[in-house]
Symmetry: C2
Subunit: 264 residues, 2 copies
């Protein structure tokens, strides 16, 4: 499986992906799922999930178009597209081609062809945008109401994002949020694994403020992971005990009348 | 969907279930998923998930056998079974019968027949035991290595259980854990909903220490929910910032040499 999360914040775009791929539980490998492109007027990042042959095919086609456009500038590429919206369309078109070509034979053999791609970026003259491209090539865009997308094993890491993220979250806080979200997923699901890939595109800079791999032994990630674990346990122990009784006894009823004991 | 969680701890068995059922997102209703039985020498609780017609059929058959056994004591029931293991087998057998009867026609109509049942209890002379019965009627038992089972929408609420539960967790702490786990699920998944049903069987008591419904406006659950939300946010804000840089600048490298700033 996979876990990738992308945020669209007023300060910029934040992307974090794992690198574990598995075809069955005894065939686990490491593949980069984060891809970045940079030109004079734009910075673009994508993260992929689902059938690896499909997503690799999409990325290969995107890169081949860029190579071919050097000799033939009539070829439209993600680096020449007039808007980030058009970039998402191009990704969706390549996805559609790959699905048309392989879905039927994959499904005949009992394999899943589904795939999805998070597309993030900004070009000069436009806003920073975050898209989620589905298998059918259609896509949706993050808005202020929902400022993040997750693909792959998204459930374990969703509660923390729901609690702390808003479009106004500053990038340092957002980094903590995606790391805690990833940490929860890593702990609960073996199909998601280190190392991680992180990318940050600050608003109106058109370049990667951060683009790095976070290895297994990364001390900063380990610290966030340990500190979060400690903080969670501490937070948990400060919770009040749940007041419970089948039928309130007289003693319990008396306690109930003294809410001061249970209120903060 | 559903979320149910059952714990087997040295102090006893703790069970918590939601009550939301949906057939499509526009057909949401409320059904009890927690069922309890009590006799002189045993206390048994079950929680159900999956196809509601299947699980209701299983519970109805279990209850009918108990009724019929009043007139014919050759009928084996969960209240007469010689062990909790045999109780789980009886549940598995009823599950198998329901699946044999309906699975084919359900699947022909595109409906899912899958179901699972958590079976918990203790009879005099035996230990407290926790089983998870699958659609095929087979089952597994909780051990000290894995002291809890979840059914339904289990992913959102798993990280907190993985972090705080051990077989030695005292029941008041365990109650907090299942409520926090349920709270995370309720917040992130609309198919899981209040009210909740809670049951606690303390070790070697053969009765329900707690067996109650927790309504939408329950002040104790609301307090745990609010306090957890606050504590999480607080814990989150105390986390260190993630150290990030494409290539460490001289300033950043200097910071790295002063780990006192980032260590606890």
């Amino acid at each position: 499986m996979t876990y990738c999360v992308g945020l669209r914040l007023s300060q910029g775009l934040v992307l974090l992906s794992d690198t574990r791929t598995n075809a069955g539980i005894d065939n686990v490998s490491r593949f980069k799922k984060m891809f970045t492109w940079r030109s004079r007027d734009r910075a673009i990042a994508m993260m992929t999930s689902g059938n690896l042959s499909i997503t690799q095919g999409v990325i290969t086609r995107i890169n081949r178009a860029i190579e071919e456009s050097a000799a033939d500038d009539s070829i439209e590429t993600i680096l020449s597209a007039e808007s980030m919206f058009r970039v998402a369309q191009l990704v969706g078109e390549r996805m559609g081609e790959m699905q048309d070509r392989f879905r039927k034979s994959l499904e005949q053999r009992g394999a899943a062809a589904d795939a999805s791609i998070i597309v993030a970026g900004q070009r000069k003259g436009g806003k920073q945008r975050l898209f989620l491209v589905y298998s059918a090539g259609n896509f949706i865009e993050a808005t202020d109401d929902t400022c993040y997308f997750q693909i792959g094993e998204h459930k374990y890491g969703k509660p923390i994002l729901d609690r702390v993220l808003t479009p106004q979250t500053p990038i340092p806080e957002a980094l903590k949020a995606v790391f805690v979200s990833m940490d929860s997923t890593l702990r609960s699901n073996l199909s998601v694994g280190m190392p991680l890939d992180l990318a940050v595109i600050k608003t109106d800079t058109y370049e990667f403020e951060v683009e790095r791999r976070i290895e297994n032994d990364d001390p900063a990630f380990a610290e966030i992971s340990t500190r979060w674990s400690d903080a969670l346990r501490e937070a948990f122990h400060t919770l009040p005990e749940f007041y419970h009784a089948k039928r309130p006894s007289r003693k319990a009823a008396a306690k109930r009348k003294a809410p001061a004991r249970r209120k903060r």
